[in-house]
C-alpha cells in the first residue's frame, strides 16, 4: 500500500509534466508567432502568420486547461497554494490569452479595426508569455508556505530579479520556437526573416539558460544539494543542451526547413527534464512534496482510468489535425 501511495503521485507528476511540456511546446510556438507578429512589416505577412495558427491555436491552448484540471484533481493542495501565490501573474496570463483569442475572431471579421486586433494578438501573446514566465520562475524559486502547505507570503512575492530573468528567457524561447515553426510553414522573404529571428533568439535563449543554470546552485542551497546529488546528470544536461544549440544554429545556417524546429523541440524537452529533476519530488518547492499535496489514492486511480487512457487518443487526433493541415501556408485565409 505504501508503495502505491508513492507510485501514484509519481505517475501523476509525470502526466502533469507531459501535459505541461505539450502546452509549453505547442502553445509556445503559437505565442512566439504572436510576439513575432508585432514586428511583421505588412498586413499580408501578418495574415499568413495568423493563418498558420488558425486551425491549431485552440487545441494547443487546451493543454493548459488540462494542466489546470489535472493539477486541481491530482494535487489539490498545490493547485490552491500555487494559484494563490501567483494571483497576479496568472491573472496577467489569462488576460493575455483572452486578448489573443478574441484577436483571432475579431480580426477575421474586421475591416477598419484590423490594426487594433493585430496589436491585441501580439500584446496578448506577449502578456501570456510574460505571466507564464513569472509563474515558472516563482515556482522554481520557491513559495512561502506554513506547516499545512498554505501560502503565507505576500501578493508581490513572485516579483524578483530571478523570476524576471526566467520570464525573459521563456519569452526568448517562445520566439525561438515560433520562428522555427514559421521557417517550416512559410516560404520566400517571410521564411528568410524568420531564419534571422531564429538565430537571434537561439543565442539570447542560450545566454538566459546559461545564466539561470549557473546562478541557481550559487543562490539556492536546496537546489544546489540536489544538483550535487545527481552530479553526472546535471553536468550532462548543460553539455547536451550546448550540443543541441550548436546543431540548431548549424541547421539554421544551412537553411534547413524542418530540422531547426526539431532541434528546438529537443532543447525544450531537455530543459523540461532538467527542471523536472530539480523540482522532483517537490510540487510546491521548497517544502511540499507531491506525496503531501496529492489527492487520495482512490482519486488518483480514478483519474488514471478516465484521463490516463485518453492520452493516446488525444495525441492521435491532435496529430491527425496537424497531418490534415501539413505543408506551407502560401495564401492567407484558409477556405472561405
Amino acid at each position: 500500500m505504501e508503495a502505491l501511495e508513492h507510485f501514484l503521485p509519481q505517475v501523476w507528476f509525470v502526466i502533469l509534466g507531459l501535459f505541461l511540456f505539450l502546452y509549453v511546446t505547442l502553445d509556445g510556438f503559437d505565442l512566439g508567432v504572436g510576439i513575432l507578429s508585432l514586428t511583421a512589416s505588412d498586413e499580408e505577412s501578418r495574415s499568413i502568420l495568423m493563418t498558420s495558427l488558425g486551425n491549431i491555436w485552440d487545441a494547443n491552448e487546451t493543454w493548459l486547461v488540462l494542466v489546470g484540471g489535472t493539477l486541481f484533481g491530482a494535487f489539490p493542495l498545490a493547485y490552491a497554494t500555487v494559484l494563490h501565490a501567483l494571483y497576479i501573474p496568472v491573472s496577467v496570463m489569462v488576460g493575455g490569452l483572452i486578448l489573443r483569442a478574441i484577436a483571432f475572431e475579431f480580426r477575421e471579421n474586421s475591416v477598419r479595426s484590423k490594426r487594433l486586433w493585430n496589436l491585441a494578438f501580439g500584446a496578448g501573446s506577449f502578456l501570456a508569455a510574460l505571466g507564464q514566465g513569472f509563474a515558472v520562475g516563482t515556482v522554481f524559486e520557491g513559495i512561502a508556505v506554513d506547516a499545512a502547505g498554505h501560502f503565507v507570503g505576500g501578493i508581490w512575492d513572485w516579483l524578483s530579479w530571478k523570476s524576471i530573468l526566467v520570464a525573459l528567457t521563456l519569452i526568448q524561447g517562445y520566439v525561438l520556437i515560433g520562428s522555427t515553426y514559421l521557417v517550416m510553414k512559410t516560404t520566400g522573404a517571410l521564411q528568410q526573416t524568420h531564419y534571422k529571428t531564429a538565430k537571434l533568439a537561439a543565442v539570447t535563449t542560450f545566454l538566459g539558460a546559461i545564466f539561470i543554470t549557473v546562478s541557481t546552485p550559487i543562490f539556492y542551497e536546496p537546489i544546489r544539494d540536489r544538483m550535487f546529488d545527481l552530479l553526472y546528470l546535471f553536468a550532462a544536461i548543460p553539455l547536451l543542451g550546448s550540443v543541441l544549440v550548436a546543431l540548431l544554429l548549424r541547421s539554421l545556417g544551412q537553411e534547413q526547413e524542418r530540422m531547426p524546429f526539431v532541434w528546438t523541440v529537443l532543447i525544450f524537452l531537455l530543459s523540461f527534464v532538467g527542471l523536472g529533476l530539480i523540482i522532483f519530488p517537490y510540487i510546491i518547492p521548497p517544502q511540499v512534496t507531491i506525496y503531501q499535496a496529492a489527492a487520495s489514492p482512490s482519486a488518483l486511480v480514478f483519474m488514471i482510468i478516465f484521463i490516463g487512457f485518453l492520452i493516446p487518443i488525444m495525441l492521435f487526433y491532435n496529430i491527425y489535425n496537424y497531418v490534415v493541415f501539413r505543408g506551407k501556408i502560401t495564401q492567407a485565409h484558409e477556405g472561405d
Binding site: A59, V65, A101, S298
Partner: protein, 478 residues
C-alpha cells in the same frame, strides 16, 4: 462602499461576473453544434446544395461565438485556485477530478476537431468532415455533462463524507450520479439546444422579414421548428422535475424561489405567488398577488401538498439565502420564457399545418416572424436566470449544508481582487461589444450563395442528375 474592502464579496462578484458572462457563449457552442451536425447530415443525404451553404453560413457565427467562449472560459479554470483556494483543497479529490475529465474528454475533443470542421472542407472527404463536426458537437455536450455533474454535486453532495473539512470520496460513481445530476444535465442540455434553435430561427426570421433569400432561410426555420417541437415541451417537463427535486433536497432554495417565509403544512392547498415584493429584513412580502390553490399543482400536480413546504423562517438568518427577490424573480422569468417559447412553437406549427410556411407565403406571417425575432435572445435570459436560481439559491453554502461560501475564499488583499475584477469587467465589455458588432456584421453580410462545393467532391461522387461533362463547377449550372 464597504464591500470594496471585503475580499469574500469581491471574489464572489468576480465569480458571478465571469460565470454569467462565460455562460452566454457555450450555450451556442453546444446547441448550435447539434444543428450543424443535422444540417450537414441532411446535405450528405440529399446532396442539396442549400444545406451545404447553410452549414457554411452558420459555422461563421459558430466560430465567432466559440472563440469568445474559449477566451471567457479560461478564468473559470483557474479562479477556483486563485480566489477559492480553501474550497479547492477541501473538494479537490472529487471536484478537481471532474474538471480534469472535462478538459481531457470534452474540451480537447472539441478543440482537436474544430480546425478540421472550420478549415478542412477542401482537405478531408465529406464523411470525415461530418465526423469532425460530430466530434465537436459531442465534445461540447460532454462538457455540459461534466460541468453539470460537478455543479450538481455541490447541490446534493454524495459518494463520500467530509472528514475535518476535507471531502473523502468512498464511491466515485455515487458521487457522479448524485441526486441532482441526471435532471440537471438534461435541463441544461435542452436549454442550450432550445436557446440555439430560437437564435437560428430568429435570425432566419429576420432575413425572411427583410425579404432576403426567404426560400433559403425557410429551410433553416423548418429544421429548427421540427427539433423545437420535441425540445420545447420536454424542457418544461424536465424543469418541473428539477423543481420537484429542489422541493425535496434543498427546501431553503425552494422557499426563496417562492418567497415563502412561513411553513405551509402538508395536506393544504396553498395559493401560488405570482408577483411579490419580498422584504428580507422584515421577513415578509410587502405585497403580493396570488393564484389560489395553485402551488400544489405546480409542485406535485396534485390538489394538496403531500409534504410541507418549509418557510424561510425555519432557518436562522445565517443559514438561508438572502437575495430572495433576485431568486424569486429569476425563477419566474425563466419559467415564463420556457412557456412562451413552447407557445411560439405551437403557434408556428399551426401556421405550418395551414400551409403558411411555404416560401412564397411565409413573408405574410409577420406576427409569427416577429415572435421568432423577439424570441432569439430569450433563451439566454432564461439560462442566466436558471443559473442564478441554482447558485444564488444555494447560498450561504458552496457545498449545500457542508461548506460555507464565506469560509472558502482565498485570503487575498482586497485591492488586488478589485483590480482583477475591474480588469475582467473591462475586458468582458470589450468582448461583448465586439461579439455583437462582428456578429451583426456577419448577419448583415448574409450567406455566400456562390460558395463552391468542397474540392473533395469529385465528379464520380455526384448524383447522375448533377453530373456535368464539361467539368464546370456544379453551382454554375443551377
Amino acid at each position: 462602499m464597504e464591500f470594496l474592502s471585503d475580499t469574500v464579496v469581491l471574489s464572489r462578484m468576480q465569480f458571478a461576473l465571469t460565470a454569467i458572462f462565460h455562460m452566454l457563449w457555450p450555450v451556442l457552442s453546444t446547441g448550435m453544434a447539434i444543428y450543424l451536425v443535422v444540417i450537414e447530415g441532411l446535405w450528405l443525404k440529399t446532396r442539396q446544395r442549400d444545406y451545404y451553404l447553410h452549414a457554411r453560413f452558420w459555422a461563421k457565427l459558430y466560430v465567432l461565438n466559440f472563440g469568445i467562449g474559449v477566451a471567457s472560459g479560461l478564468p473559470m479554470e483557474f479562479q477556483f485556485g486563485t480566489n477559492w483556494a480553501p474550497f479547492s483543497e477541501a473538494v479537490g479529490d472529487f471536484f478537481g477530478s471532474i474538471l480534469g475529465f472535462e478538459g481531457a474528454m470534452a474540451f480537447m475533443l472539441e478543440a482537436g476537431f474544430l480546425g478540421i470542421m472550420l478549415f478542412g472542407w477542401d482537405r478531408v472527404p465529406p464523411l470525415m468532415h461530418w465526423l469532425a463536426t460530430i466530434m465537436v458537437a459531442f465534445g461540447a455536450n460532454l462538457s455540459t455533462f461534466w460541468i453539470l455533474t460537478a455543479n450538481s454535486w455541490l447541490q446534493t453532495p454524495a459518494g463520500g463524507e467530509f472528514v475535518a473539512g476535507k471531502f473523502i470520496v468512498s464511491n466515485y460513481f455515487q458521487a457522479i450520479l448524485n441526486p441532482f445530476m441526471l435532471n440537471s444535465f438534461l435541463h441544461m442540455f435542452f436549454a442550450t439546444l432550445e436557446t440555439s434553435l430560437f437564435v437560428i430561427g430568429g435570425i432566419s426570421a429576420w432575413y425572411i422579414l427583410n425579404r432576403r433569400h426567404p426560400e433559403f432561410f425557410v429551410r433553416s426555420l423548418k429544421v429548427v421548428l421540427v427539433i423545437a417541437l420535441i425540445v420545447a415541451p420536454l424542457q418544461i417537463f424536465i424543469g418541473h422535475l428539477s423543481a420537484e427535486q429542489v422541493y425535496h433536497y434543498q427546501p431553503s432554495k425552494l422557499a426563496a424561489m417562492e418567497a415563502q417565509w412561513e411553513t405551509i403544512p402538508a395536506g393544504s392547498s396553498p395559493a401560488w405567488s405570482l408577483v411579490a415584493l419580498p422584504n428580507n429584513q422584515e421577513g415578509r412580502n410587502q405585497w403580493e398577488v396570488k393564484v389560489p390553490g395553485m402551488l400544489s399543482y405546480l409542485l406535485e400536480l396534485k390538489p394538496t401538498l403531500s409534504e410541507p413546504v418549509k418557510g424561510l423562517k425555519e432557518w436562522q438568518p445565517q443559514d438561508r439565502p438572502h437575495m430572495v427577490g433576485l431568486i424569486y424573480y429569476s425563477f419566474r422569468i425563466m419559467s415564463g420564457i420556457g412557456v412562451f417559447l413552447a407557445g411560439l412553437m405551437g403557434f408556428s406549427l399551426w401556421r405550418w399545418l395551414r400551409g403558411q410556411l411555404k416560401a412564397e407565403a411565409i413573408s405574410n406571417q409577420k406576427l409569427m416572424l416577429w415572435g421568432w425575432l423577439f424570441a432569439a435572445p430569450l433563451g439566454y435570459v432564461a439560462v442566466e436566470c436558471g443559473w442564478i436560481v441554482r447558485c444564488v439559491g444555494r447560498q450561504p453554502w458552496t457545498v449545500y449544508g457542508e461548506l460555507r461560501t464565506a469560509d472558502m475564499a482565498t485570503p487575498l488583499p482586497a485591492p488586488e481582487v478589485l483590480t482583477s475584477l475591474l480588469g475582467f469587467a473591462g475586458m468582458y465589455s470589450l468582448l461583448f461589444v465586439g461579439a455583437l458588432y462582428f456578429g451583426s456584421r456577419i448577419i448583415r453580410k448574409g450567406p455566400n450563395l456562390d460558395l463552391p462545393l468542397p474540392l473533395t467532391i469529385s465528379q464520380d461522387n455526384l448524383e447522375p442528375m448533377q453530373h456535368q461533362p464539361d467539368q464546370r463547377p456544379v453551382e454554375a449550372q443551377q
